[in-house]
Symmetry: D2
Subunit: 289 residues, 4 copies
């Protein structure tokens, strides 16, 4: 039973590049965390330490910085340029994957006016892009993560299986909260990335808010199908939604009622709901994920 090398990839992770674009006194800011992963003809370095086909991760980092000197554009485009570079430049690279996280910044307002070159970071939410390239194709996945949402009405949970380990009471009124991570695969490697992203994000929020929920799964599906209905360029969307439990505190020992007003927000354990919404005629995902 000879031992063999299986799947492998390597690259430079988390190159944190900040790009300032200056139009006179007015500056724009891009804040990106870029991770590169290459796969290809790298058996030799594993088997013998012969690195003659290895593109050092340090070079990958330098490449990210050098490419950032040109206008970055949307992160999907930046990822495509980088991924194609690695595939086309190096014979040993069969597949390049570039994953980018973008943090948003807004202008600080001074006496009501947006400032030219001073910014405040917009929370923990991140916009994501993941681009995969080979000689045969380019796959683009976009997404967002750490979008924390909560609804204090319009959520029920009942009618579930009961067994000998069931103690959960059914409820017609609960808080539903999650920290959304969503990634969607585009049908083609070209689209109006900024417009698509804004549209998808808005629909995810609107569906979360509007859909009366009988389960977090139902909400997930409603969010995903709202996206697919309005965005033909999206082939598939995958979501991960931890159920951030908010338990009604029992105030009866203190002679107090608690009509779903005072909640204890629990950290662990948490429900974790993961699901995909797609089309029955979506193109194959190929190497997208």
């Amino acid at each position: 039973m000879p031992i063999v090398l299986g799947d492998n990839q390597y690259g430079k992770a988390e190159t944190h590049v900040v790009r300032v674009t200056k139009q006179g006194a007015t500056h724009e800011l891009k804040d990106l965390n870029v991770s590169v992963a290459l796969a290809g003809d790298f058996a030799e370095t594993h088997l013998t330490g012969d690195n003659s086909k290895v593109v050092p991760t340090d070079t990958q980092k330098n490449t990210v910085f050098a490419f950032a000197r040109d206008p970055i554009g949307e992160i999907e485009d930046f990822g495509i340029r980088l991924a194609r570079h690695f595939v086309s430049e190096f014979a040993s690279v069969y597949r390049a994957r570039v994953a980018i996280e973008e943090r948003a910044w807004a202008r600080i307002h001074v006496k009501g006016n947006p400032h030219d070159h001073a910014f405040v970071r917009q929370g923990s939410e991140k916009r994501l892009a993941m681009v995969t390239c080979t000689d045969d194709g380019t796959w683009v996945v976009a997404g967002l993560t750490d979008l924390v949402v909560l609804k204090s009405a319009g959520s029920e949970f009942h009618g579930y299986v009961k067994d000998r380990f069931t103690t959960l009471p059914e409820t017609r009124d609960r808080i539903m909260a999650t920290s959304l991570a969503a990634r969607w695969r585009y049908r083609d490697a070209q689209a109006d990335w900024a417009k698509s992203f804004a549209g998808v994000r808005r629909l995810l929020l609107e569906a979360f808010a509007s859909k009366h929920s009988l389960s977090l799964q139902q909400t997930l599906y409603a969010m995903g199908s709202a996206v697919l209905e309005a965005h033909p360029e999206v082939a598939e969307i995958r979501m991960s939604m931890p159920n951030k439990h908010h338990f009604v505190v029992d105030l009866s020992p203190f002679g107090l009622a608690n009509d779903n007003e005072v909640f204890y927000a629990s950290d662990r354990p948490y429900g974790l709901i993961e699901g995909t919404v797609t089309r029955d005629d979506s193109p194959e995902p190929g190497l997208a994920w």
Copy 2:
């Protein structure tokens, strides 16, 4: 040299309470992380394990939840009510300190309209209150933390001490970025907390943006004095400002210029600038900190 008990306090930390207030279909949300610390006549539990004067931390947690059933108001007020309760209710408690972190939530907009009961969390920034009570007084400190700001112009650093370990080049143009933590002490235990907080936060941002900076210390002082000038109710402000270094990437090996456009955002090490701005006639801080 007999061994003795020195300073001590105890309490329940990080009770995460979420309060929903319902006015018909319209809900309001308060998301608080409350920590209580009590000091007083607690030598016996240390020395002999006699707990007859100990208010269990579990009871403190229950108290937070029970008090949250009444309208919470501003976190300074909620802290005052809680702290006074512990001091007045229990003879053994000499000093109660209640520290509260508040996370902000905004309404989700659906088709342009704010939703009644669906919310999205506003980033990592936290509003802070710390209230200290004894029979003799009440001290209120407010603050904010994790407010990340950056300016891509208007920041210089030169003219500093050079010794044999100095390699830093002087600069007339750099990125200045920090994650601001600020806490300010009020002159009295009553003020228009919401208005003060909004005003202080706005001035901190405006001064950061507007003040042409020759050092992060100068910016810190400008921010603090802007607050004190406009807010007579504030006796003192303390700020901690890590210098989140953004280094200009040397692209010359690749034949590229980099005129302060492409930066590497470094995590560690970082400068850490801490300072206080106060008044020469501020009342003594007492037990505020």
Copy 3:
């Protein structure tokens, strides 16, 4: 292009259970973080909110606690019992996956003797098990994570591809450090789990230390093949090894030599090397991963 539900699963994540086993005055401790994920006939809850086939995640949590009352044994066995329960008990569950992290504790020694019931936690390293069950089979993956290792000699890196973005100097002597995450798939769903784990962990450490390294990839492969050679019960091993860079500090501006003695340990960016070592006749992984 009708919209359809794709892959989905749900469950309770991170139920943190601590089990004390008492033999007279002598106690044993198990510290487990258990995550359950179920897949199966759950389309209805997504599409209509009909939960009649849903086993609540709260029930899953209760089940973990209830099962922890029996002797836990090795985490692989505990995972098998839990996963089989969910598959066999509920018609709607096609596949159950149970992932467990175990933290190690050692006895505190008092005057040289191990204490009966007092323990100190052993660092950040975690032992892992992931068990997947259907009616047709059981797959067991074991692993470890956060095992941080470093060698200060016996590591070179040279002979790699150079292009216009290459600035990294070749080296015959560098620090090599990583935080190892390894997971290995067992050929069968039964083995001497504790003995296998101890053997694999020992071999991973020994190969890291002993193998003269020309690249982190070579070290990864050496570690994996050492495991497969000695452990016929292991079909495949997957490793993720971030290259935790330690850069030689340039002390020449201060008139000091630095012969690989003083290093700056960098956080980001980092190389990330991922690879699999397997056998050419390994059974198919099936649903193991």
Copy 4:
């Protein structure tokens, strides 16, 4: 009410230096995270941006690396050398404080023998030193943090105050667990640091294990007084001990008894017990803390 500058300090935080010492083929490893903070005549940089008395934090970082080229010794000694340097070298520096965290590494064993130059990191516990210097004195504080301990017997909690918010049942048998942070001040700026540290750490563990506990406060005091009794060089010890709650799971709904065997380990909220043990004739702390 003129506005004035109050307390302030600045410095470079978290310079992560790894020092390899080579005696032939045998290497030793020191892994330190060093933070420097300077206070003194720094009003001008705050008020006008005149940096002529400012020692850049970048220079402080360089100094840490340059000083690391000499044998480091114990971290208390390294801190003293660094702190004295800043005070003696720069007229503007009145007070220098150097805080160091040390991570422990052990040799990897290969076939039972300790390896010359391969190491495995020892968990999350950190050894601490904090040295403060002025022209008038040197103060040394040592410590440790993230030492997680648990006892599954020998801990009771009862006899406490009951009020209308009390629901906690009294217990004669509970798990007591904490993540210990302890810092102790030395009487003088010279001692056998390594021996003192080892002795204090051992006594903290032994007292935690051995002392039958009626409250976490009693355990804290027992731990501190054990240290002071055996270590005359220690003037004072301060401890912070979060009560990491382990709740007995109610298995009665499942028809199962739970005689303190199955516990749920909770993250938040947690009790937080802080206390100091000192001597009635300890020298004043001065600038130690």
